[in-house]
Symmetry: D2
């Protein structure tokens, strides 16, 4: 019962096999191989337009590099208070962007809205040299609380951003989960809704280490190759990432893997919804379930071997906060989460089983 994070999972068998096959062959270094080029073409297909694709090793690198691409002296970047860029990347963006201030904004369910962004912008008058200059906003899709933005929700935020000259970044470490959960096209929820650059994640959804920065306007990536190289995310044997993506993006593999994880999350959510000592804090859009448990149930789940983390209530609706004797927790499923795991969990939550 590992619900700690989707990055505790192994890698999906077809991806492992594809990587192993390619590993024997090698190829020209630093992305000169045919597979890397084929993957870029596949990304263009998926997003229904020309895109520029840069592989990197981790989601942290993808996010920080992607946003730093738009940074200038005194940069202000907006994101949700709970955003990965704000709390989990050891000041990666602050550093790579040359001294960025990440301004955390509130928003229910971890989602930014036009009004929260406008509120954030209000503190930064144009050419207010003392305060810094807003350059970008970042949306997590799906976000750290398991919520996905609909295309209309993305567009509403990007409209404000464009009006104020901000670049729009989407943290898609869980992009597959969001797309699968929303049932929308990748294009509709990104560039067609105003997104400039996407961190497209594979690692949390069945790859070993495969992340890509996707620029929807390739000209904006002019300096990206240099920015990536100088922090060592230009891999010599780039085909080891290409091989993972090639298989991951073959047909609908990536969406099928995410769909599996999402389905397992729905089972967890149903169990929570029906439990007497548990309730849902948010209806999940993808593979993260935010739940409120009694301390008693929390202890019993852990005693039974369930692994998961408590979670910060920032950005939760007022009616979904833990009360006395309760804890807010997050359960994350993955492509590898088994029917047995969720069944055991459900039994524990429903109370029919005592560990």
């Amino acid at each position: 019962m590992i619900f700690a994070s989707d990055n505790w999972a192994g890698a999906a068998e077809p991806i492992v096999a594809a990587l192993a096959e390619q590993a024997r062959n090698g190829g020209p270094a630093y992305g000169g191989d045919a597979l890397s080029k084929a993957v870029e073409a596949r990304f263009c297909e998926i997003f229904e337009r020309e895109v520029a694709v840069y592989f990197v090793g981790t989601g942290t690198a993808a996010n920080a590099l992607a946003i730093a691409n738009y940074c200038r002296p005194g940069s202000i970047v907006f994101g949700h208070t709970q955003a990965h860029i704000n709390v989990d990347e050891a000041n990666g963006l602050e550093f790579l962007g040359g001294g960025v201030k990440v301004v955390g904004l509130d928003g229910e369910g971890g989602k930014l809205t036009p009004s929260t962004l406008l509120d954030g912008l209000a503190a930064f008058p144009e050419r207010g040299f003392h305060h810094g200059q807003p350059v970008a906003v970042s949306l997590s899709q799906a976000n750290e609380l398991g919520q996905a933005y609909s295309p209309a929700e993305v567009a509403a935020v990007t409209e404000v951003a464009k009006d104020k000259g901000l670049a729009v970044h989407m943290d898609g470490a869980r992009f597959a989960g969001a797309v699968a959960g929303l049932g929308v096209s990748p294009a509709d929820v990104t560039w067609k809704a105003g997104v400039d650059v996407l961190s497209f994640g594979g690692t949390k959804n069945g790859c070993l280490a495969a992340e890509a920065v996707v620029f929807f306007n390739p000209a904006q990536a002019r300096d990206f190759g240099f920015a990536r190289q100088r922090i060592g995310h230009g891999f010599s044997k780039a085909w080891f990432i290409a091989a993972q993506f090639a298989r991951y993006l073959e047909g609908d593999t990536w969406l099928a893997l995410a769909g599996h994880a999402n389905a397992r999350a729905r089972v967890l959510a149903d169990a929570v919804r029906s439990g007497r000592e548990a309730r849902l804090a948010l209806e999940p859009s993808a593979n993260e379930v935010l739940a409120i448990l009694t301390e008693g149930l929390d202890a019993r789940l852990k005693a039974a071997g369930a692994i998961y983390y408590p979670w910060s209530p920032a950005g939760m609706p007022a009616d979904a906060l833990p009360g006395p004797g309760e804890v807010l927790v997050r359960f994350v499923t993955s492509f590898q989460t088994s029917e047995d795991e969720v069944a055991r969990f459900a039994a524990l939550v429903s109370g029919s089983t005592t560990p």
Copy 2:
């Protein structure tokens, strides 16, 4: 006949197999897995002392992070003019070290000596706030010209360095090749000779992407975890690097792979030595052969499909520089270089075959 670089090779079969096996299982994220800990223990064994080991994705990251660990405001770092940190890392160290000046020093065969280091230091008086402060020196082992430092040569340079308060870094992207070529113990050529921190490379010698920063004094690594995380080299599925290293370092696998590459390089060197239109620029210590070819032979080799690069003459002895109608080139072998490849090459160089 691929002699362009050792990073054009695929990965060694046992390493591929080990990675594929582990990939199915996964484990706790961010290095919490058992395999990561086992690999750290194996490093301690190999180096005959307690070391702190940090995995990263590339050699560029390993070098820049390792040296930046010792940087302070106004840092001056010394390396050979041809050093990878000086010419191939897109200002990685300059950036990660917060505005470092890398001072390239000359030295025959790409090797630094005590006197070249002392010459370099002369421009930087203590507390000379205008000029910056020397903080580190970096040695490449084996270096970009295929030469390895003996333990005594390392010690001679580090003695000067220690006297001046410099940290000593060793760029061991080709460490296995150097150790195999020198026939020395890993400890003798590193910390016992005064090295503080080592970039230990696996990628060029049979891994897919496996590099480690090894601190011989673990206390010096206090901030390294943060520095690594903020540029996204803290991998969530760190076991994908651990699995490669576990197999790479099992028994003498790493040295055997390097020994293979070195042996192939010796065949190339012999061919060059005996060719009428070719001569050795430097006697190889590991898997890189610097040679001077006539333009005619150069053209014939390329026509026959050999892939390799011309090379800069900086740091070559005066009697080993190309003359009119000649070119300096570098041939690199790998664990994967076949007997057939070197035989075809030898035949072409010896003139018995016309392409």
Copy 3:
């Protein structure tokens, strides 16, 4: 009636005269002059201990350099939400500290307390590589809301800081005003209360451009000369700053100038306190008066030529927030504020005069 800021004032006559006198003479560059050394000695006297003193050109440079001196990769620095480092320095600390995250904390009257600092620290577990590492806390003395910390209040915060390994910085752009207002010794309110480094300001209190970074433990300043030089705050004609400080610190000149400003602020405060359309938001400790005005009075003051700014209510006690039809404003006095200015203001506020 200029109450916009104390940096709109000219310079005090004796300081102007001393600077003009020294300006004719010049001297050895970069602080080698005798006056610079004399000023350092005077600082030691004032603080009753050996200190290391570094002149810089502005308070922003003083703050950012002083705190950056303690920064390491992934640094977290705490300050009040309204602190100058957090809102007015264009990411100076974020940049100079190599990607710092400044965490703004609340606290009534713009003052940090042990409990707010502890709350802030709670999000950063030791060796939590994802989150960054707390390295310092900064207190403004007097702060942006006109409040000064008593020695005991400083000591209470620094006790928590020391316990957690944080360096303690004091932003003393208005240090003279705080010392004059509190009636304490400079030593008591700084190093004796646990402060490590002080930005000692002269500019806002009668100098033209004279700021100093004062280290109470000189050994901590090891790299400061380099850090200052590389951003161009090592002035060649350093005696132009020394000359200002020499006169500023002669006898109690600095405290007398601040005392003047504070006294004028008290007149403003009295006027506000007694006005029917105005009330004090905070009792002033030095030369800043936070007041709540009716929109009508605000308009009349401006029409009469008073210059001042509206102010953010962050960190104000609940009973001191503007209501409907009211505005929160800040009035700042200086050594140059005249009796006539404050009298005109008082008359306007008291309602006896219509503009």
Copy 4:
């Protein structure tokens, strides 16, 4: 006999008086004062076009900020080996430009030429992500060896630069001396010859601390206000710099001051030229005299109280290098150098006086 540097001098009397006068008055902070605006207008007049002017405190700040304005990830900046940016600014550019590599080029007399720049560029192929990207070249006018570029010499270098997409910076810490020495118009030797941005120095030529960054295409300065503010070179009492410049640039004051220094340098040069134990290394263009002395004369000059520094021979013509028993030295005059000083020097060098 102070010939150590022009920044050992005091300030010119009219400038001191103007500063003192303005100091009493003050004005709106951060450049909102009328004098600052008047100075900007005067710069437009002097350069015969619209320019954007930003005051900063030091030449180091001016240079590093001006060039960093054009930097992008992996930046390569070219300058002469002896350039101030390369040896005297404690990695200021490397830091402010976010990890810049300053590539020092040779060139006789400290001057770059089209061919040396082309040689430097050859190592950096377009989109060569490993090597970094050239972004700018910097010319010192007059340079560290006392040489000035004619408009044609500037234009020759900038033609190469423009062709390769490089911005062109001019380090004009001694711009007045160069203009006075060359007898050209400020416009001719800057933007009309292809210069994009100029560090315009006042400090070495009679001011206390007055430097300006002048953009000839104001649109290129979009982010400069933020970049300046975050390192604390946006002065609150900016009128203290404006007052110096206002007087410095009144009529031909600046050129007259420089003319005085240049004339004194010519006297020194004549003395050297005629001395039996001395010879000119380079014919001076402005106020720096590079000379070769016998060790005996060197000792006698110092014994007589002359203050000056030995100098690096990098970039000296082959026939102007010190031989055995000789030293290369630099004498610098200033607006304040007296007739008496140079006469005493001349007497010592000509041998008619023994100290």
